[in-house]
Structures are given as structure tokens and as C-alpha cells.
């Protein structure tokens, strides 16, 4: 059984803002909101234009509720202003850039000043502290490093926490297990589905995870469920925590579960949350389900004003038993668009269309089938063979498969299995094919 003492850590002073009295928190939020709106208005042409159109000036922000006067920002705004259009700092003040895939074509680029990096590290320290981790822990970071914010975000947090960091990055499961065992790792960061895979592989290798010092898992970057959490906790005798973040806001470190494991605390002194109706765009009260919207209150290089995450959740009204005063959201499970997440990578069907189109010249009938094989997500793209691309030579078809696979990998950064299928085998419904079949068992 996962016991609560697995989540007992010394209070970390950096966590102090988690416990601010509501009034104090709100006044901090308001002063930061005024600053960030002014900054966005002064330095980002897109915000200024949109605010001018609405005849809103930074001075109109006199209370937190005034935030609803501000225009929304959406993912395509980042693409349309690519690469530097939403930057509010000159390149010389920027110390880091990250990129994630957009819906199509150009990636989305996000930027950080040194102060932003420091804030990011601090919210990750608060995340780790909420998960019961401290300076003595040995943290294995299996999130992928690179342009993806997950790896370096968790890395800098673990480093600021004063823990020992083992940057294993993603992949090479056998080595991950070897490291976990040989170094007495006490906490791991990765996607929950990858951890399920680690549990399975460890048992094949004869390694009993339950007997290892590992006691905490910090899991994020993809949706999961409470039943999955319980499976993980039982399978490895650890406490499994859900964390939430997105690179447009900062990366991981936007919200985190705590020992109570009932929802995720938003670090709302830096990220101001709203819930809106995705159809009418009207704000919804706490306790009502809707689309999550964030305004970054302190981000200098790239402020986000009312950024629509497309994630569906609700803000929990009751105070948390852990004592934190910052509000919580429920676990995110659904989206208000067709994006899906596989192995921690966000994928839009439109990106896959783009990749297939690049190879074949015309868009073939295709279908994306998601499965969870041995706890590891698999993406298969079934592509109907047409007379134009068919050949009597095995090599030519294998080459086609390979090219499609490469094109998808170049677009998404992850591998997909390409299956060539006979024409008309993919079901058409009302003319338009159902593009994504998600057969993953999330329990």
C-alpha cells in the first residue's frame, strides 16, 4: 500500500506562496496582472492592436474581474506571429528558446528571460515539494530533453530543489531500470504511460520495483485517470502525482497535485486561471466544467494573455486538506479540439495530413489508430494504397512506407507505424472518415 509517509517532506520556503491568504494572493495577482497587461500592450503589437480594437487600455484593469475585458489568445496566434512576434523582450534579454509543434507547418516558439527561467525553476520546486520531495532525493528525469519543455523544466526544478539529478532523458527502458536500481533513485519524472511500461519491463527483467527506494512518481504531459494512478501506486509501491503544464504558459509547473491527491493546485500567483464556455466564450464560475484559460502574471519574455488551453476541466471550490490556499483544478481528461497526446507529444490530425500529403502529393484516405501495447502508446497510421502509388515491387512499397514514416517523424518528432491497407477498408462516415480511433485503455 502506498502510505502517506511517502509524501512527508520538510516545508520548503519556496512553497510559501502556496499558502498565501486569499486576499493577499488576490492583491498580488492584481498588481502582477496590471504589470503584465501593460508590458504586453507596450511591447507586443498583436495585443496592442486587439486591445485597441476593443477600446481597452491597460488602465481599464482595476480588478481581477476586469480580465474579461481582455481579448483571448489562441494557439494559431503563435503560429501566425512565428517566430518572434509575441516576444515582449529583445533577443539580447532572452536566454532560452523552446519549441513545440503547432497545428500545422511551423512550430510554436516560446522564450524565456533569466527571470522567467528562475520563476520556472521555482514553480517546479513547488511542484516537487507538493509531491513530498526535498534536497536529499535522487531524481531520475526521464522526460525527453531538448526543445520539449518537459525535460529541462523538470531538470532545473530538481536542481533548484537541491536534489541529485540523473538526466536519463527518454528511451532505453532497460537502462532506465538499471539506473533506478543501481543508484537508489527515490523519485522519477516521466509520462504515466511510460511508467506503466517501466513496471512491466522491470518485472520481465526480474527487478522488483516495490523493493526499491523509489517512492514518488511525478507524472505529466499526457492525460491519465485515477484508476491508472492506483495501478501505478500498487504496481511500484509509490505515490503517483499528476502535474500539469504547457509550453505556451511556461512548460511543466503550471499546476501540481499534492499529498491529498485530489486535484491539482494551480500556482496562481504566476498563472491566473479562468474557466470559459468553449462555445460562447463566456466565463464560468468555479465548480463548473469548461475550457481552461491562463494569463501569465510574471512572464517577461512572452506574456500570455487569456490563452485558451483547449483543456476541459473545472476549478474545485472546496479548500484542500493539505492547507494550500491556491485553487485546484480537476485532472484534465478531455479537449475542446481534436488534439491527442501520445507519449507526451501533442498531435493534431492536421499535422499528420500535412506529412502524408508531403509524400504522396494528394491526401490519401488514412486513419490514426492509437493503442496501448504493454502499457506503451503506439500510433499506427493506416494509409489506403491507391493506383498512383502502388507498385509491383516490394522494395518500392517498403520505400513508400519508409518515406511516410519519416515524414511523420519529421513533422511530429515521434515514430508511427505506417500500415498500407487496401482501398476502401477505412470506414467513411457521412463522407468524412473518422480520423482517430483511440483504443487505449486508460484504466
Amino acid at each position: 500500500m502506498a502510505s502517506s509517509d511517502k509524501c512527508a517532506a520538510k516545508f520548503n520556503p519556496v512553497s510559501a506562496p502556496d499558502y498565501l491568504p486569499k486576499k493577499q494572493l488576490q492583491s498580488l495577482q492584481l498588481s502582477r496582472l496590471k504589470m503584465i497587461v501593460q508590458r504586453a500592450y507596450d511591447y507586443v503589437a498583436l495585443f496592442r492592436q486587439r486591445m485597441d480594437q476593443r477600446k481597452v487600455t491597460p488602465d481599464d484593469i482595476q480588478s481581477l474581474d476586469d480580465i474579461t475585458k481582455l481579448p483571448f489568445t489562441v494557439k494559431t496566434d503563435l503560429r501566425d506571429t512565428y517566430p518572434f512576434g509575441l516576444f515582449a523582450s529583445p533577443i539580447s534579454d532572452i536566454v532560452r528558446l523552446h519549441a513545440s509543434s503547432g497545428t500545422t507547418g511551423k512550430p510554436i516558439v516560446v522564450a524565456y528571460t533569466q527571470k522567467d527561467i528562475d520563476v520556472w525553476a521555482s514553480v517546479m520546486v513547488r511542484t516537487f515539494a507538493a509531491c513530498g520531495l526535498g534536497a536529499g532525493d535522487i531524481i531520475q528525469n526521464s522526460y525527453g530533453y531538448g526543445l520539449f519543455t518537459g525535460g529541462l523544466g523538470a531538470h532545473y526544478g530538481a536542481e533548484s530543489l537541491g536534489a541529485t539529478v540523473i538526466p536519463t532523458s527518454g528511451g532505453n527502458t532497460d537502462r532506465q531500470i538499471m539506473v533506478m536500481k543501481d543508484f537508489g533513485v527515490t523519485a522519477i519524472c516521466c509520462t504515466p504511460s511510460y511508467f506503466l511500461h517501466l513496471i512491466e519491463r522491470a518485472s520481465e527483467m526480474g527487478v522488483d520495483l516495490k523493493a526499491l527506494p523509489l517512492r514518488v512518481g511525478v507524472f505529466g504531459a499526457e492525460p491519465w485517470t485515477d484508476s491508472m494512478r492506483i495501478r501505478i501506486e500498487k504496481g511500484a509501491n509509490i505515490k503517483a502525482f499528476d502535474i500539469y503544464g504547457l509550453s505556451e504558459i511556461i512548460g511543466p509547473g503550471v499546476a501540481s497535485a499534492c499529498c491529498a491527491q485530489e486535484g491539482l493546485h494551480i500556482f496562481e500567483d504566476h498563472f491566473y486561471p479562468e474557466i470559459i464556455d468553449p462555445e460562447t466564450l463566456e466565463p464560468l464560475p468555479d465548480g463548473t466544467e469548461g475550457e481552461l484559460v491562463f494569463t501569465t502574471l510574471s512572464k517577461l519574455a512572452m506574456p500570455a494573455i487569456r490563452y485558451r488551453t483547449r483543456d476541459i476541466t473545472e476549478i474545485i471550490t472546496e479548500p484542500c486538506s493539505c492547507g494550500r490556499t491556491i485553487r485546484r483544478i480537476k485532472r484534465v481528461g478531455r479537449r475542446s479540439d481534436d488534439m491527442f497526446i501520445i507519449r507526451g507529444v501533442n498531435v493534431f490530425p492536421s499535422q499528420i495530413e500535412e506529412a502524408l500529403l508531403a509524400v504522396e502529393g494528394t491526401l490519401p484516405h488514412y486513419q490514426i489508430v492509437l493503442t496501448r501495447k504493454g502499457d506503451l502508446d503506439q500510433m499506427e497510421i493506416q494509409v489506403e494504397v491507391t493506383a498512383d502509388v502502388f507498385s509491383d515491387k516490394v522494395r518500392a512499397l517498403e520505400e513508400l512506407q519508409h518515406k511516410l514514416g519519416q515524414s511523420v517523424e519529421h513533422t511530429l518528432g515521434i515514430r508511427a507505424k505506417i500500415s498500407l491497407v487496401q482501398p476502401h477498408t477505412i470506414q467513411r462516415s457521412e463522407g468524412k472518415a473518422k480520423r482517430v480511433i483511440d483504443n487505449r485503455d486508460m484504466s
Binding site: 494504397v385 515491387k393 482501398p423 477498408t425
Partner: protein
């Protein structure tokens, strides 16, 4: 001198091979020979039939992907070394073979027929004929097979 071969795309799943065969049977088309190239995920069925245009039409009507390729049929002596003699000529001509398969022996005069897919069929035919290899045209092939 070349023969039209049909190729049919198949997923490597049970039952997929019988589908085109049934369609051809239902339309009274006799398969003279076939070969199957398979990978883990898909296969390519290669067929030689007499009424290839009709076969192509009925297969396409049934929704399969069909491709027509020109292949070359060669007659060799059905004895040890018969194939080798032909291969030597092919090699000497620096002719690239994409794939090949053998016909069943059918005639009384101890000859076998091989089907070749060459990279450059025209050049191959010219060269082979110059070197006294018996290249069979479609008319005599179908007659022979009757």
C-alpha cells in the same frame, strides 16, 4: 515480346489472398501462374492471365488496386544447369533483375518457363535474343499453356 503481368496489393491478413482469386474465378478467368511476395505487413500478388485487361477491370471494380507491369518470359531447358545458362547470359549483359519466378513445367519437351522483371525490359529482350535465349511472346505463351 513482353507479357503483361498484373500485381494486386494485399494486406497480410487471413483471407485476403482468396478474394482476388474468387473474383477471377467468378468471371471465368484462368490464372496461368502467380507468385506472392510478402512482408510482415503486406503482400503483392503477381498474376499472369490471358485476358489481363478484363481481369484488371473486374479486380478494380471489386475495389482492389491493380498494377500492370511488363515482364519477360524465358524458356529454359528443364535440366540441371538450365537456369544457370540463362542467368550467365543475364549477368554477362549487366542486366538488372528486379525479381523472378518460375512457371510450372508444362510441355512434353522438357522445357521450363521463367518470368523475369527486368529494370529495362526492352534492352533485356534484345540482348537475350542476341544470345540465343528463347524469349516467349504472349501468343505462344498462352498457346503453350493451353
Amino acid at each position: 515480346m513482353k507479357i503483361n503481368q498484373l500485381s494486386v496489393f494485399l494486406e497480410n491478413k487471413p483471407g485476403r489472398l482468396s478474394e482476388p482469386c474468387e473474383i477471377l474465378a467468378a468471371n471465368g478467368i484462368n490464372i496461368l501462374t502467380l507468385s506472392l511476395a510478402d512482408t510482415e505487413q503486406f503482400g503483392i500478388l503477381r498474376l499472369v492471365v490471358k485476358e489481363w485487361e478484363k481481369a484488371k477491370r473486374v479486380l478494380e471494380e471489386a475495389g482492389t488496386v491493380v498494377n500492370v507491369t511488363e515482364v519477360v518470359a524465358l524458356e529454359v531447358a528443364d535440366r540441371p544447369g538450365g537456369l544457370e545458362d540463362v542467368l550467365k547470359v543475364i549477368e554477362s549483359g549487366d542486366i538488372n533483375v528486379e525479381y523472378m519466378y518460375a512457371f510450372t513445367t508444362f510441355s512434353k519437351n522438357k522445357r521450363a518457363i521463367l518470368v523475369f522483371r527486368f529494370e529495362d525490359a526492352d534492352r533485356a529482350v534484345a540482348y537475350l535474343r542476341d544470345h540465343d535465349v528463347n524469349v516467349i511472346d504472349s501468343v505462344s505463351l498462352y498457346q503453350n499453356l493451353k
